[in-house]
């Protein structure tokens, strides 16, 4: 690693830290264990935060090698998973709806780093990666997408209905905007039970105009609920650009009386910082809105090519300038936390993991016919009979 760095030092655009680390690296010939190193590293977020009715958190984020490598691994895994889902859909193994999250991984990963499993998350239908961030396995994802028994909802939910209650992940919701009042309800329960935890209710720029969102925000503010409303603004509500859908696309300001923060959603560290800030705020002062400025590479769903309402240049531009995985990769490389080869190996590992999970999911059987009538009620009565 040291040699390669010396060789390429003239062409690298690495930060000062690379130069500082050079003598250290050359002094150590053994590979140091990189994945568990928790020496704090301070990184500046890509852009400063903008706020509405509150202070901004600092641009300097505390992180460490372990965290950065976890970010890289998780985001690369999510990226690979979504791309694989794309292929499976085209191969007709996934049916119905399939809304892919690639490009937005930083939001899921950064949020998870700021919170615990006691905090609740609820999101809309673009939920595969959020489910994985909460601890879901690849097998559960692919099996559910293909409607098999090993799926997280035993094949009965589908792409939009992933749940993981033991990690306080409440879905996966198909009706645009409905998850926001539900999320405020989760926050209500946390406050009622004195959990000292918060709920993150995620929604998109398309859902940001839903009336029920404002109804729920109003009640949350009146009752001081620990609810954090997170607008994942990928700038397109299906095929409608934000400027065509919202009179005011400054979603972090839409809370009016509720404070808001605008965050670079492609920067996992900025997301983490904002979520830490928001959690502290919500526990003391009630609801707050986070607007994550993010982007999705795929169309709205698999039936949308994603190019009728935006240019290919725009998509490639974002991929080049702001890709979240690439950002972390650069960060890792510039801080000498791993070599390019090591990162490539991680990606190879991930590819294999994903392929194995898909193969396993393909082998998995469809649900038993008797499952048609199970779980309609938590407490069935044996009175309703199936129609012959």
């Amino acid at each position: 690693m040291a040699l390669s760095r010396l060789a390429s030092s003239s062409s690298s655009s690495s930060s000062r830290s690379a130069d500082l680390l050079k003598p250290l690296c050359s002094a150590i010939s053994l590979r140091r264990p990189i994945s568990t190193d928790t020496t704090p590293i301070t990184v500046e977020t890509s852009v400063p935060f903008t706020s509405h009715q509150c202070d901004t958190p600092s641009r300097s984020v505390q992180t460490n090698a372990k965290e950065l490598l976890t970010f890289f691994r998780d985001m690369a895994l999510m990226r690979r998973m979504e791309i694989a889902a794309d292929s499976l859909y085209k191969a007709k193994l996934i049916r119905g709806f399939c809304h892919l999250y690639d490009g937005q991984e930083a939001v899921a990963v950064g949020m998870e780093a700021a919170i615990t499993k006691k905090d609740c998350i609820i999101t809309a239908y673009r939920d595969h990666c959020t489910f994985v961030a909460r601890g879901g396995t690849l097998l559960e994802v692919f099996a559910e997408l293909m409607g098999r028994q090993a799926g997280c909802s035993r094949g009965k939910g589908g792409s939009m209905h992933f749940y993981k209650k033991d990690s306080n992940f409440y879905g996966g919701h198909g009706i645009v905007g409905a998850q926001v009042p539900l999320g405020c309800g989760l926050a209500f329960a946390q406050k009622y039970s004195k959990d000292e935890a918060v709920t993150f209710a995620l929604y998109g720029d398309g859902a940001a105009n839903q009336g029920q969102l404002f109804e729920a925000l109003n009640i949350s503010a009146l009752w001081d609920l620990p609810a954090i409303l997170v607008c994942e603004n990928n700038h397109y509500g299906m095929g409608t650009a934000e400027w065509r859908a919202s009179k005011s696309p400054a979603y972090y300001k839409r809370g009016d009386y509720a404070p808001g923060l605008k965050v670079d959603g492609m920067d996992a560290l900025a997301v983490k910082q904002a979520c830490t800030f928001a959690k502290e705020h919500a526990l003391k002062n009630g609801p707050i809105i986070l607007e994550m400025d993010t982007y999705r590479y795929h169309g709205h769903s698999m039936s949308d090519p994603g190019s009728t309402y935006r240019t290919r240049d725009e998509i490639t531009g974002v991929r080049q300038e702001r890709d979240p995985v690439e950002r972390i990769r650069k960060l890792i490389l510039s801080h000498d936390l791993a070599t390019e080869k090591e990162l490539k190996d991680i990606e190879k590992e991930i590819r294999k993991e994903v392929d194995d999970a898909i193969a396993q999911a393909k082998e998995n059987p469809l649900p038993e016919s008797s499952e048609l009538f199970t779980n309609v009620y938590a407490k069935g009565l044996g009175v309703e009979m199936s129609f012959h």
Partner: protein, 486 residues
């Protein structure tokens, strides 16, 4: 019937009427009466006291003491953390309630009326009803949605709809509708304790009505099972299914039907051979129809008059069948045959009237109830009234068992007729008990119009007792043509 005849009847058979009344109203020896409002309030109170996870949410449930005073006193007792006044935002607060239920709390969400539940219906159906299924059992939703449902008085089209059929069609929901105080207490407690989303349809006009309750009902552990209907009154001629307010109407119908007459005079101007036929028929009635132990005691022909001691029902069955010679409705094969005989009996009826008192008597104008009584006395129909209690799941086995006993069915509901409860019950009976039906199933429902405001139109738009009586008669005799439909 006729005034004097009625008086005589009442005098003679008062003893028979009275037991009918008290049988309807008493459930045990205790005579405590409570209103439906008190029943609901006490049920909420007890369940909140027993389980700290239960909380109430809705418009005006707290400081206003409840829009209909159902939640009176609960804010003072449990505090503002458990009794929450919401802004007028059904979609928002219903979603919050469902979210709280996801997380393990037990909300009781009040809709001021179920008309406003339409603002929140996405949360009731998509967020609450379907979650347990979509998550394969991970996310259960122990929530209760309650409030007044159906028509009130003079509140107009937007405030009078009945939502029983809509909610009952959705798998994942349980839908309950109480009639009296016992139902209100037992079903609300069951709903709150149930781990699934329950839609609890009350009725504003019943809130103030008192019903007797036993000590068992007043006990805090009292609970009724979900999915079981109650046979409010046993009968043998026709089954009437109803829920909520319509149970009261159906029972009134029964009361009107259960009057006995001691004697009936039948005369016939037919020839001797035909008289013999009548005699044999009367003997067959004696053996075939013994209602409440009153058998045909004496049969004789004097000149042109036969004196029969018989339950009114049986004798009038005969009379009307002989009169309506081409009408079929008949339980026994023997009677069927004789119906084809043409015998003139109308004069005999009026002779009978004169013979009773020597005076010519006329029908009295009266309220529809007693007029219905008169009509039904003649017919002597003993209806079996089923109080559904549980709309979903529907107690199909009780309904079908009853229809297999009575062979006729009338369904009564206040809501719109198309795709209503009656349609479902009719289909269920046709599927499971078709060969037991002796008459087509009749549905009594609200008129197929938005609820009008004017008092006379409103009255026409909601089922009345006479409508049920007419249907009962049709089901038993088919002698009255169907009322014209719009």
């Amino acid at each position: 019937m006729l005034a004097i005849a009625r008086q005589r009847m009442l005098g003679q058979s008062f003893k028979k009427i009275l037991p009918a009344v008290s049988v309807l109203r008493s459930y045990s020896s205790a005579a405590k009466q409570i209103t439906v409002r008190e029943a609901l309030n006490s049920a909420l109170d007890e369940e909140m006291s027993a389980d700290p996870k239960v909380f109430l949410m809705g418009e005006e449930v707290g400081e206003y003491q409840g829009a209909y005073k159902i939640t009176k006193g609960l804010l003072e007792k449990y505090g503002p953390e458990r009794v929450l006044d919401t802004p007028i935002t059904e979609a928002g607060f219903t979603g919050i309630g469902v979210g709280a239920a996801y997380c393990g709390l037990k909300p009781v969400v009040e809709f001021m009326t179920f008309n406003f539940s339409m603002q929140a219906i996405d949360h009731i159906i998509n967020s609450a009803a379907k979650s347990n299924y979509m998550s394969a059992g991970q996310i259960s939703v122990p929530i209760v949605f309650r409030g007044p449902n159906g028509a009130a008085a003079g509140v107009g089209a937007q405030h009078s709809q009945c939502y029983a059929a809509w909610y009952a069609s959705c798998p994942g929901l349980k839908v309950l509708s109480p009639y009296n105080s016992e139902d209100a207490r037992g079903l609300l407690k069951a709903a709150i304790r149930d781990p699934d989303p329950v839609v609890f349809l009350e009725n504003e006009l019943l809130y103030g009505e008192s019903f007797p309750v036993s000590d068992e009902v007043l006990d805090s552990s009292f609970c009724l099972p979900i999915g079981k209907a109650k046979i409010e009154r046993e009968g043998k001629d026709v089954t009437i299914t109803a829920f909520s307010k319509m149970v009261g109407y159906a029972l009134k119908v029964c009361l009107l039907c259960s009057v006995y007459l001691d004697k009936l005079y039948v005369s016939s101007t037919a020839g001797y051979a035909r008289k013999i036929k009548i005699m044999s028929l009367l003997y067959q009635i004696r053996h075939g129809h013994s209602n409440k132990g009153k058998k045909v005691l004496a049969v004789g022909i004097e000149n042109k008059i036969s004196v029969i001691d018989t339950p009114l029902r049986a004798s009038l069955t005969l009379l009307l069948r002989l009169k309506n010679t081409f009408e079929k409705l008949c339980l026994e094969q023997v009677l069927l045959k004789s119906v084809k005989e043409k015998l003139c009996l109308s004069t005999s009826m009026s002779n009978a009237k004169q013979n009773l008192s020597g005076e010519k008597l006329e029908d009295e104008p009266g309220d529809s109830g007693s007029h219905a009584a008169e009509m039904l006395e003649k017919d002597g129909i003993y209806a079996e009234v089923i109080n559904l209690r549980s709309i979903r799941p529907l107690d199909r086995s009780t309904i079908n068992a009853s229809v297999r006993k009575t062979n006729r069915l009338i369904t009564v509901e206040e809501g719109f007729p198309q795709h209503g409860l009656g349609a479902e019950i009719c289909a269920s009976v046709v599927e499971e008990s078709f060969s037991y039906l002796d008459a087509p199933v009749e549905r009594i429902a609200g008129a197929d119009v938005p609820m009008p405001y004017a008092a006379n139109l409103e009255r026409m738009a909601v089922p009345q007792v006479e409508d049920i009586v007419r249907a009962a008669k049709r089901a038993c005799y088919r002698s009255v043509p169907l009322a014209a439909t719009a």
